[in-house]
Structures are given as C-alpha cells and as structure tokens.
C-alpha cells in the first residue's frame, strides 16, 4: 500500500528532513507516525501526497510511483487517497453536504452516485442532521468529522490524517480517533501523524517513531515513549 525505499529529503535551504528512510505499510493497517515537531513527520506525509518531491529514493502509494510521477498525475494520486488536516480545510461558503459532494464532483462522479454516497459518508460520521449547515455553524469536532466524511466520499483505500486532533479537545479527539478506527475496521488503511501520547498509547496500534529524520522505532502495538518527548524538549 505504502512503501518508502531509501528516501531522503533535503530542503533547498539545507535542512535535512529525512535520511534514508525505509518503511512499508500493508493494506488494512492502522499506523501512527509519531515524533516531535521538526522530526520529519510532516515531511513524510508531504512526500506521500506529492506536496514535496523526494531528494533521493522511491515512494510508492496506492500503486502510484510517487517519486517519479509528473505534475499532471498528482490529482489522480490524491483522488485515490482520503486526507484529513489539522485545520479541517473545509470550503466556508459551501454547506456540509456540498463540501463532501465537492470531493466527488471533481472526480466527475455521476450525480446519482453523489446522491447515494454523500449521505452514507455523513451518516458514518454522525452528521446527517447537519447536512445543510455551514462549517462556521459547527464545532471543531464536527468540522473535522465533515472533513473525514469528505475524505471517505470517494471510498479511498488509504486515509492519511495529519495531526487530525491537533485543534481539538481531548474528548472530541477521542471521537475522531474512534471514527478513524472504525474506518480502518471497514478495510481502509489508515496513517495518522500525531504527537498526542495519550491517544497513541491507548490505541495500541503500530507506531513508527521518527526523530531527526530517521525512523528510530517501529513497533506493533507500540507506545509513544518518553524519549520521544525528550527529543521534543531539545527541539
């Protein structure tokens, strides 16, 4: 599903974000990518979405050879993924329903299919009743659920969430995590980049820990260790 082979990323200003990273994520997995800010966690996510290009190495996502793909292919890679951001990124002048439908409109999906799929996605995240509201009328947790519904609208095989609970209080964070977990149970591969220890520890999923551009640990049913936090203190 996702494979990184000898991936390095150096930014034009000389900052080394990733050094010779090798990582393989199989279909159906639920993986946390943890590490303090500046560890290279965000860079890794950006490489998967082709927001940044690799300096060296190969990246495969969902059957796409991301490291060598042309700009014009990028939209098709992104359509095959679901993506959830820390800041939700909903279109403010579209309703909840329209926001979710929009992800399908851009893929030129049939209107019939949109009418079928959007209510299903909204039902999954429990927002059927708020379909006609605007993002500004919703709480943060609800907005993130809309974003999740949008990410799921096209039935992606892979869902990537970058700090999905970063702007949410602990209780709402849990709701989102439960949803992600449920999505995973339905067969979608889920990758969550986060630095929230309590959640990672509780969920007992695979944890890939990144520090200073290197994968320092990769554990099944892992935990966010104290040393990761210590790293954060240095940075």
């Amino acid at each position: 599903m996702v494979e990184l082979k000898g991936v390095s990323k150096t930014y034009p200003n000389g900052t080394v974000a990733l050094r010779d990273v090798n990582l393989k994520i199989e279909k159906g997995e639920f993986v946390f990518i943890v590490g303090p800010s500046g560890s290279g966690k965000s860079s890794l996510v950006k490489l998967l979405l082709k927001e940044e290009d690799v300096t060296d190495g190969e990246v495969y996502v969902n059957g796409y050879d991301v490291s060598s793909m042309t700009r014009s292919e990028v939209p098709y890679l992104r359509r095959s993924l679901g993506f959830v951001f820390q800041d939700f990124r909903l279109l403010p002048n579209k309703t909840v329903y329209e926001n979710v439908a929009f992800a399908m409109i851009i893929t030129e999906a049939l209107p019939k299919e949109i009418r079928r799929q959007v209510p299903m996605a909204l039902a999954l995240v429990g927002l059927s009743r708020k379909a006609n509201m605007y993002p500004s009328q919703l709480s943060g947790g609800e907005q993130q659920r809309v974003a999740l519904a949008r990410a799921l609208a096209n039935n992606p095989a892979l869902l990537i969430a970058d700090e999905p609970t970063g702007n949410l209080d602990p209780e709402t964070s849990w709701e989102i995590m439960k949803l992600l977990s449920e999505v995973n149970h339905r067969g979608t591969t889920v990758i969550v980049a986060t630095h929230e220890k309590s959640i990672v520890d509780e969920m007992k999923k695979r944890v890939v820990s990144i520090s200073k551009g290197l994968i320092v640990r990769d554990q099944e049913k892992g935990q966010y260790r104290d040393e990761d936090k210590n790293n954060q203190a240095y940075i």
Partner: protein, 299 residues
C-alpha cells in the same frame, strides 16, 4: 471533460463574478470604454469607406480650357472630347454659365463679382466616363490637348481621402491596441484579486485532487463573462449614440441633400459591430484570465 463538469465550471464562474461585484463592475466599465472607442473608430472607417466607394462610382472629370481661348479653339477641344469613345457623355459649361454658377454659389456675397464679367471664367467640359478605370488615361490624353489648362480629377480627391483613411486606420489601429492592452491588463488584475481572495479554497481543491484545469476554468469563465457583459453594454451605448448622430445628420438638410456625404444606417452595421465586439471581448477576457492564471495560480 464531461458536461456536468462544464456546467459546474460555468456555475462557479458566474457565482464568482457576482461575489466579486465591485471589481467585476470596474473591469466591465473599462471594457465598455475600450470597446466604445473601438466602435467609434470602426463606424468612422465604415462610413469613410462607403463614401469613398460612392465617390468612385461617380466618374466625373472636368476639363478647363484657358480663359483666353476663342470660340474656334474651344470648338477644337470639344471635337476631341466628342470623338473619344471612352467618354459616355459630356456637358459644355460656357463662360456665362460658369459666371452664373459662381454667382449662385456665392449667394449674398455675390457682390464681390461686381465689376467682373463672364470673361474671367474659362469654358469647361464636365465629362462622364463609361468606366472609372479609364480616368487615368483620359486625364493624360486631355491634358495633352492644346488649349486645355487643367483637368480636375475627381480621382485626386478620392486618392487624398483614401490616403487619409489609410493613415486614419493605422492611427486608430494603434489606439485600439492600446485600449485592448489596457483592458487585458485590468481583467487580469481582477482575476488576480479573485485568485488571491480564493487561494485557500484553491489550495483545498488541490488537496482533494482537483486537476489544474478544473481549478482554472472557472476563472477563465469569469474573465469572459466580464468582457461579454462589457460588450453588450458597449453595443447598446454605441448603437444608441450612433443613431442619435444619424438622426441629427438627417435633419441637417444641407449635408443630407448635397449628396457629398452619406451616413451608413445603424441597422446596416450593427451585426458587424456586435460580432466584432463579442469576438474582441472574448479574446480580451480569455487572454486577461490566462495571463493572470499563469502568473498567480501555481496549481
């Protein structure tokens, strides 16, 4: 591209230009101004050309004899003209007739002719040709006839006017270009502002996998809408303005009846005006948007 996508793109373009009312209106105003300037030049050129055509269809020459020529000498000139089979018909204007004509022309001011007689005027022949194309040779031939002082050549006037209209066209071409460049610039600036206003939205669209053109087309539509609206307004204004002018012209009996000048009626030119407005507007709008998108929308 599927039809529903095209529909979506048009809807977005309309919604955006509406949301962007103020800038859209400013751009529309500029487009209207440029197109009206263009329209004025176009109408002038069309009128000039029809008048030139009209004059060309009146192949008239006037050959003037020397004033001091006596009747026999004039008769010799007339014989030459009579024999020329390229000449359809001619009319002899005697000294007295010329004198009377001048007196009529001067009207109230005819007093200045006091003390002069018909003898100061030359005898002339007004000549109608069978075909305009002969005019050059006939003029040469008549000028070679002894006793003929000069041949006034209606072709001369036509040539001057043709040349003036050539420079006029060139000049208006330059003016029109300047206005079009300004319009393109203004539209591209409007689109730049919409792009900036919506950059967050554009960014989101990119993340969920919208293709470059899916993002760009609504902006192109927006630019074209602005300029088409401008074209329609410009058409209404210039057609109305021109018919007012036409009516004023028709009321000016001296000009209208002199048959020296005629104005083209608006119903004969409005399709030409409308189609050039729409074509120019579409090109200006699309170019403006494209320039702006190339510079400011790195999708």
């Amino acid at each position: 591209m599927k039809i529903r996508t095209i529909r979506h793109i048009f809807k977005e373009g309309f919604v955006n230009s509406y949301r962007n009312k103020l800038m859209s209106l400013a751009s529309i105003a500029i487009v209207v101004a440029s197109l009206i300037v263009f329209g004025i030049f176009l109408l002038l050129v069309i009128n000039m050309e029809t008048n030139i055509e009209m004059w060309k269809e009146q192949p008239q020459l006037e050959a003037f004899c020397y004033v001091e020529l006596d009747n026999t000498q004039v008769q010799m000139v007339e014989d030459v003209i009579k024999k020329d089979d390229r000449i359809l018909q001619y009319e002899r204007v005697d000294k007295e007739q010329a004198f009377a004509k001048m007196r009529d022309k001067l009207g109230k001011n005819s007093a200045i002719l006091e003390g002069y007689g018909a003898e100061i005027f030359p005898v002339s022949f007004i000549i109608r040709l069978k075909d305009v194309s002969y005019s050059d040779e006939i003029v040469k031939a008549l000028e070679g006839v002894s006793g003929v002082e000069k041949v006034s050549y209606s072709q001369d006037t036509i040539e001057v006017i043709t040349r003036v209209s050539h420079w006029f066209k060139l000049g208006s071409g330059v003016m029109i270009m300047i206005f079009l460049v300004v319009s393109v610039f203004i539209i591209s600036n409007t689109i730049k502002l919409t792009v900036f206003a919506r950059r967050k939205e554009i960014n989101i669209m990119k993340y969920i996998g919208a293709t470059d053109w899916f993002i760009r087309w609504p902006f192109v539509v927006e630019g074209v809408i602005i300029s088409i609206v401008g074209a329609i307004l410009a058409l209404v204004i210039s057609a109305y303005g021109y018919s007012l002018l036409y009516d004023k012209f028709a009321q000016d009996l001296f000009l209208a009846e002199s048959q020296l000048l005629s104005l083209v009626e608006i119903k004969d030119v409005w399709t030409q005006l409308a189609s050039s407005y729409v074509i120019i507007a579409t090109m200006v709008g699309a170019t403006g948007s494209f320039i702006s998108l190339r510079r400011h929308l790195k999708v």
